[in-house]
Symmetry: C2
Subunit: 309 residues, 2 copies
Amino acid sequence: MRRVKILGCGNALPTQTVTFDGQIRYRLGEGQTLLDLAETAILGALEDAGLTMKDIDCIVGAMATPLQAIPCNAALIHERMAKGTEIPAMDINTTCTSFVTALDTVSYLLDAGRYERVLIVSGDTGSAALNPNQKESYELFSDAAVAFVVGRGDGDSGVLYAAQKTWSEGAHDTEIRGGCGLMTAFKFTEENREDYYFDMKGIKVLKLAARKLPGFLSEALLQAGVTWDDVDVVVPHQASKALDMIMSRLGVAEEKYINRVSEYGNMISASIPYTLCEIIHEGKVKDGDLVVLMGTAAGLTSNVLLLKY
Amino acid sequence: MRRVKILGCGNALPTQTVTFDGQIRYRLGEGQTLLDLAETAILGALEDAGLTMKDIDCIVGAMATPLQAIPCNAALIHERMAKGTEIPAMDINTTCTSFVTALDTVSYLLDAGRYERVLIVSGDTGSAALNPNQKESYELFSDAAVAFVVGRGDGDSGVLYAAQKTWSEGAHDTEIRGGCGLMTAFKFTEENREDYYFDMKGIKVLKLAARKLPGFLSEALLQAGVTWDDVDVVVPHQASKALDMIMSRLGVAEEKYINRVSEYGNMISASIPYTLCEIIHEGKVKDGDLVVLMGTAAGLTSNVLLLKY
């Protein structure tokens, strides 16, 4: 087990809400940016941990989408929250599961003594690129930010097991084709507007995930030497309204996993950590509990991480 | 020392060259993309290592700029080179020093046994966003891609020491403001075209780097327990024509470092690994040599890594 302790976390939602068939979704208000949400989340996480920015020795941006093509998101977060310090800032990105990949990766650095306390910041503003003509995605996503402060801890808590797989036959099932290097903003016209929107082939993603996830997840439990009885709570990526269907297919009992899709929708990279932070603050996670973080991401990538809290 | 062995590397340049005052720069040819360069670099690295894609158990995209906002670069590289496999794909980004950060980070995962052989791919196509009105950057950058296969090795080689610092007072000295989340392609007009170009305040970057780097570098050597006499070769980021001036300020003897700015210019995230791969293939690096990788990146970030080859 790689020693990691969750020292604190904070969530942030934007001010605007919209509702589709009773499903609540959050959108940036006028003049708000993801950096505003990140600031609220980070201040919350630091307060929760009883720490200040001076106690942090690495800032990791674990987001799906870039704020600017250059510099990385973590540098812009650094400018907002840590200007004048020398804290290293880096991004780790596997799209929707970036937080899990970041926690997984950072666990090695914490365990080896490279850093003492790392700030991981997730969050995206899907609303910047949602296509009003693509109902299934337009009505699904929310903007949000989340921050976690993680430290090494004393060895009682940590990452028991983590794994990732990428099946790139799904690389274009969830994407934003335009805006960056392969199709720059200079090429934007009203005629190719759709290429600059978020584009999701929901059924294809679902089918690929349904085919790949059961084996991946059961292999993870086997490798970690645990059974479903040992697992206290599963925090899945809040990918879509099909979450119950996917969880049932994976054989996860209804009382074991958290489904808040109707309250928040899919918050992209913020989904897993937002849900985790919320249930921690609700007292649903106790010391020693075995928490499974899991989900799919554009790629198609899937991550699973077993955290002894 | 964290066990890492360089198993092979490959470089790739695009077909088009331009020359400014005798300085050669490379630009994508018609119809070429960064993925084409990445493919050439990866095939070269695999051949150099005597391996195939099946031997790789993680693909890391270590680039400054996104190819698409979603999915991450590594997933698109996976699609090109590893479709049908389950190799995990992730991005690690600190802009120009992304390769150093990736090697640094991956060294923990290799040393701990998470992976056996990791493919790190760097490269950018600055030409996609160069501003013809900003001579200092327009005449400086080249497009290129590089791939390294790194394995755990037997303990004779590895990362002796690595560190990163970020000074975000320089966050906007090197940037592309438009195209991504904070200023989307939808807002592009001919009037704000400059916001979508790469923008560099070269003198400001140079001044900040000149102020911060000497202390950072001497601290790194001290922490690693080595002196300049122990160092065989320094591979600096080929940031600009001021490289000799910066190296002199850092007290690095001229025969110790590699300066290929006139041959290639600044290849963004490819600069450090391209130069490293080139001198390896030229036979300038021998087993057991102490190689220092170092440089500055947008952020302003600086990385230094001491590699026992």
